[in-house]
C-alpha cells in the first residue's frame, strides 16, 4: 500500500551514522585479542511521522540489531539516534522511560514473547503499570482496565479474554495480544521486527490489515522489518535495503519496485517467487548467487564477492550512500 509521500511532514526519527559493534574474544585464552563484529556499521536514515519505513535484508545483515538499538535494548557504539529532535542514543533513567513510552516494539515470535505465566490482561497492562510505578504516567487502576478492554476490542479480541493465558490462544491471536501490548502506551513509533513471519499464511493478511487500520486510528509510525519482500513492498512507504551492516539502497517503495538500482537489491527482487505458474520470472532465469557471509574484502564494497557487476575500484573503496535524487539513495560505484 503506497501512501502519498509528503515531503513537508516532520521527521520523527533521525538515525545518524549509527554503529553497533559487538566485541568477541578470541578462542585462545593466551591470546586475548579482541575481535569485533560490526553488526551495524554506520547507517543513517530518517523516518517521517505517519509513514511506514521498511527495512529489508538477509539474516545477519543487522536489521534486528538496528531495531533493538533504537528502542535501546542494545547500546550504540557510535552515532546518534534523534527521536523528535532529541538524542536518545545515550538516554538514561527517566529520560529513557519517557522514550520507551513513545517507542515500542512488536516481536517476531508470539509464542516466545509473551510470558506464559501472566494473564492476557496483565500482559497488556504491564507497560502502563511500569510507567505508573516510575511516575511517568498517572493512571488509576480503573483507567488502565478500561484502556486494556478497549484495546482488546481494537485488535479484534474480546475484553472477556483478559483472564486467560497465552497458551489458550492461536498464533494469530497471540500476535494480536503482542500488538495490543505494544500500543497500550499510545506510542508514536512502533518497530515491528518480523511481526508476521511466524504466522500461518492465511493469518498473515489479517495481521497486516490490523496493523494498517491501527496506524490510521492511532496515527502510528512504523518501522517494519522483514525478509519477505512482497509483504514489505505492500506495507511500506519507503524501503531501505541493508547488507552486512550498511544500507545499500533506500527509496520510496514504488520506485524501488520499478527501478531497483543496487546489484544487491536487484538480486533480492530477482529472488521473489511469484505465486503464479506462468510468471515471466522463473527459477532458471534468476541471477542469484552466494550467501551473505563474511566478506573477503576489508576496505572495499561489502557486496564485492557476490556482485555480478563488480569493478576493480569496488575491491579497495567502499562506495558511500549517494543521493541520486531527492528520494533515491544508493551505495554503488555504478551510479
Amino acid at each position: 500500500m503506497n501512501k502519498k509521500n509528503n515531503d513537508t511532514t516532520d521527521v520523527l526519527l533521525n538515525v545518524k551514522n549509527l554503529k553497533v559493534h559487538f566485541p568477541v574474544s578470541s578462542r585462545s585464552i593466551f591470546n586475548k585479542k579482541r575481535n569485533v563484529i560490526k553488526a551495524v556499521d554506520g547507517i543513517s536514515f530518517s523516518v517521517k511521522k505517519g509513514e511506514t519505513f521498511g527495512l529489508v535484508g538477509e539474516s545477519g545483515c543487522g536489521k534486528s540489531t538496528t531495531a533493538r538499538t533504537i528502542v535501546r535494548l542494545n547500546n550504540p557504539s557510535a552515532g546518534n539516534i534523534e527521536f523528535e529532535h532529541k538524542d536518545i542514543a545515550h538516554a538514561r533513567g527517566q529520560e529513557l522511560l519517557h522514550m520507551r513510552r513513545d517507542v515500542q516494539m512488536i516481536f517476531q515470535d508470539p509464542y516466545a514473547s509473551l510470558n506464559p505465566r501472566m494473564t492476557v490482561g496483565s500482559l497488556i497492562s504491564e507497560p502502563l503499570r511500569i510507567l505508573r510505578h516510575y511516575k511517568i504516567l498517572s493512571l488509576s487502576n480503573a483507567e488502565i482496565e478500561a484502556r486494556v478492554d478497549r484495546l482488546l476490542e481494537q485488535v479484534g479480541l474480546k475484553p472477556s479474554m483478559k483472564k486467560r493465558f497465552p497458551h489458550e490462544f492461536s498464533g494469530g491471536q497471540r500476535q494480536r495480544i503482542g500488538i495490543a501490548r505494544s500500543i497500550v502506551t499510545y506510542p508514536k513509533l512502533v518497530i515491528a521486527d518480523e511481526p508476521i513471519s511466524a504466522l500461518d499464511v492465511s493469518v498473515q493478511a489479517q495481521i497486516i490489515n490490523l496493523m494498517n487500520s491501527l496506524q490510521k486510528e492511532f496515527g502510528l509510525t512504523y518501522i517494519f522489518i522483514a525478509h519477505d519482500l512482497t509483504v514489505v513492498n505492500y506495507i511500506s512507504d519507503r524501503i531501505a535495503v541493508m547488507y552486512l551492516g550498511s544500507i545499500v539502497e533506500s527509496a520510496p517503495a514504488n520506485i524501488l519496485n520499478k527501478n531497483p538500482l543496487h546489484p544487491y537489491t536487484r538480486m533480492l527482487w530477482d529472488a521473489i517467487l511469484v505465486p503464479h505458474p506462468d510468471s515471466t520470472r522463473s527459477l532458471a532465469h534468476a541471477n542469484v548467487k552466494g550467501e551473505a557471509y563474511e566478506t573477503s574484502v576489508t576496505s572495499g564494497c561489502p557486496f564485492y564477492d557476490r556482485c555480478p557487476l563488480r569493478m576493480e575500484r569496488c575491491k579497495t573503496q567502499n562506495p558511500p550512500l549517494k543521493a541520486l535524487d531527492k528520494h533515491h539513495h544508493v551505495a554503488c560505484w555504478l551510479y
Binding site: 500500500m1 503506497n2 538477509e58 539474516s59 479484534g156 479480541l157 474480546k158 479474554m161 489458550e168 490462544f169 492461536s170 498464533g171 494469530g172 491471536q173 494480536r176 500461518d200 499464511v201 492465511s202 493469518v203 498473515q204 493478511a205 489479517q206 497486516i208 490489515n209 494498517n212 487500520s213 525478509h227 519477505d228 519482500l229 512482497t230 509483504v231 513492498n233 505492500y234 514504488n254 538480486m267 533480492l268 530477482d270 529472488a271 521473489i272 517467487l273 511469484v274 505465486p275 503464479h276 505458474p277 506462468d278 510468471s279 522463473s282 527459477l283 532458471a284 534468476a286 542469484v288 548467487k289 550467501e291 551473505a292 557471509y293
Partner: protein
Amino acid sequence: MNKDKDKKVMNEVHAPHTQGKELLLDVKNLSTHFFTPDGIVKAVDDISFVLRKGEVLGLVGESGCGKSVTVMSLLKLIPKPGQIVSGSVNYKGVDLIKCNTRTLQKIRGNNISMIFQDPMTSLNPFMRISSQIMEPLMIHRGMKKKQAFEKAIDILKMVGISDAEQRIRNYPHEFSGGMRQRAMIAMALACEPDILIADEPTTALDVSVQIQILETIKELATMLGTAVIFITHDLGVVANMCDRVHVMYAGRIVEEAPVTRLFKHPAHPYTQGLIDSVQQLFDDTQEPLRVIEGHPPTLVNMPDACLFYPRCPHAHELCTKKRPPRVHLHSTHMAECWLHATHQPDTFNTSPPLPQQASDHEQKE
C-alpha cells in the same frame, strides 16, 4: 551408479503404468492419529494420492495441517502417541505400512530419502560432513571407505559446493545455512533414490539462498530422474517447483490439481482464499487485504463435517453436518467441497447460508 542387490529386489515387482508414467508410490486411505490425553488428534485423515516417476508433487498447507505427518507416515517415522491407524502405502509392490523394519531400513535413505527443514538440527554436529554423506553409501551400497569418500566429494560438487575437497572435512557449524542445506541434499541424493521427500527445505533460509537451493533440487531431480514430494506453505515456491499440487487442510487433502490449473481455477474456497491472499500483494492496491477469517482448527475430537466451514464464505447448513464428497471436476482435478457436488442432497440449496461467524475470537470459545 549400479543398482545394488536390494534395489533389484525392489524392482522385481513392476508397478502398473498409468498416464504414460510409472507409478512409484500409491497411497490409499492413509490415516495417522495421535492419541493424546485431550482426545484423538486426526493429524492425517483418510488421505490418498499417487506419485509418478520424475514428477514434483507439492503438498501445501499451513502449519499443523498434517503435511509433515503424512510424509513421516510414508516411512513409518511416527513417534508415540501417534499411530498409523489405517491405509496402505504401495511402493513397487511393497506395502510400507505392513512390511517389517528390516525391509523398511533398506528403503529409507536408499530408495526413498528425505530433506528436513532445519539443516542445523538435522545434521549431526559431532560428525564431519564427509562421514555424514559417506554413511548411506557405505550402508546401502556396501562401498569401502575410500571409495565412498571419493563419491562424497563428487556429490558435494554436484550440489554446488565449491572447493569440495577441502570443505568435506568441515563440521556442520563451519558451513553457512545454504551450504548445510546443500550438504543435506547431498546426503539425501547420495544413493540416487527413486523418491526424494523435501519437507520445507527452504523455510529456514533467506530468499536469495532459497532460490538457489530450489534450483539445485530441481536440476538434480531432473538429472537423476528422482520423483520429489515437496512440502511447503509458500505458494510462490509451489508455482515455481511443482507439477501437481495437493492442498491440505486440517489433516485432509481438500483439493488436488496440476499446478497451472490450480492457480487458474482453484475450486475449494480455502485454496481460493489462500491463492488470493498471496497474489493480491503483487497488485497496486490501496484496499485492505482480502483475508480468510479465523484460524485453522486444533484437530482434537473434530466432528465428521467439513472442517473449513467456520472460515468459509460459502458455508451452508449441510457443511456443518456432513463431510463433503471428493468431487472430480476434471480427470486430474479433485476438490472436497459441497459446492461442486453434483448430487447435493436437497437440503443444500434450500437451506440458508450460515452467517459469517468465524471471526478470530469466536473460534476458540
